[in-house]
């Protein structure tokens, strides 16, 4: 592990206000990472979720709420507020939700994760600043706590900044707009 790196595992969530830190999560296939950053108090947070709704398995959700979007996302935000972040300042980016099993999946879990995350954020009154979702690539996402930059890498590719403008950066990303 690189010094200053806070690693977020699968079905995991980390918050930090250590300005020297980067928060990183690896191998996002159908999972979705939600990265948030307050540029004033320099609080950063990241959630790596696997599934959309906790009603799919409430026992699991109780043991690990970070597994599901609807239980994990509220916790991510609450923990960030507790560390000094303010909702209206938060810069939110999402990545992942790829189709990884087969390339002609009809309504695959990656897409469903993505839609559920977007719906939850919209209902919570949070705008998404940038996204890289869909396609069939595996992604690694890193959030620099000091600068607030969010960087993404796909397997074998170079690190790119997940821009301030929303863009369908992934190959074959379905969602327009």
């Amino acid at each position: 592990m690189t010094a200053g790196q806070v690693v977020v595992g699968v079905a995991d969530c980390r918050i930090t206000n250590d300005a020297a830190a980067s928060i990183v999560t690896y191998a996002l296939g159908s999972c979705v990472a939600v990265a948030i950053h307050d540029p004033v108090t320099r609080v950063g947070g990241m959630l790596h979720l696997m599934l959309p709704e906790s009603s799919l398995d409430s026992a699991k959700a109780e043991r690990n709420p970070y597994m599901f979007a609807d239980t994990g996302i509220p916790l991510l935000f609450r923990q960030a507020y507790a560390a000094g972040a303010e909702k209206r300042r938060l810069v939110v980016r999402i990545a992942g939700g790829a189709q990884v099993m087969d390339s002609n999946g009809t309504f695959n879990i990656g897409k469903r994760n993505c839609l559920t995350v977007k719906k939850l954020l919209w209902k919570a009154g949070v705008m998404i600043h940038a996204e890289s979702v869909g396609g069939n690539v595996s992604r690694t996402v890193r959030l620099e706590v000091d600068s607030g930059r969010c960087l993404m890498r796909t397997a074998g590719g170079p690190e790119q900044v997940l821009g301030d403008r929303t863009s369908a950066q992934a190959e074959g990303s379905v969602v327009r707009g």
Partner: protein
């Protein structure tokens, strides 16, 4: 007609995913019986016709909550009806944009109705019965 079905599928996916955060997960054999909330728009110009969407009121309410960004228990009936109308409007526009990107169209304001029993779209030449995460959505289309 086969081309129009594919265009309607594409339009439905775009509309439901982008503005309703929903998606088509399959098809159902037809419209279930029971009370349905329907919205119809008419279009004219390069082609003319009508598009109708039909769903159970409970399904429309869930879709409407997603569209407006509110919880399902916060949504009024008038809002659900307004969203149903906008669903028909946007779906029609998306379909026509794929059908004739260089065409010229006018889309009428939506007409909202409550229909008892199955078959709100039964009489329409092109019918799709989508299965969504939230329930079923029937879409009927007439293009002249």
């Amino acid at each position: 007609m086969a081309d129009m079905t594919a265009l309607l599928d594409q339009a439905a996916e775009e509309v439901l995913e982008n503005m309703f955060f929903s998606g088509v997960i399959g098809e159902v054999p037809g419209e279930p019986a029971g009370e349905r909330l329907c919205a119809t728009v008419a279009f004219a110009g390069s082609s003319e016709g009508e598009l109708t969407v039909s769903a159970a009121a409970s399904t429309m309410a869930v879709l409407a909550a997603g569209f407006l960004g509110v919880e399902e228990n916060e949504i009024a009936d008038t809002q659900v009806r307004s969203v149903a109308g906008e669903l028909a409007n946007v779906l029609c526009g998306a379909f026509l944009g794929h059908l004739e990107p260089l065409g010229n169209f006018r889309i009428s304001p939506p007409r909202i109705t409550d229909v008892q029993g199955a078959g709100a779209v039964r009489h329409m030449p092109l019918r799709k019965y989508f299965e969504l995460m939230e329930g079923d959505l029937a879409v009927g289309l007439t293009v002249n």
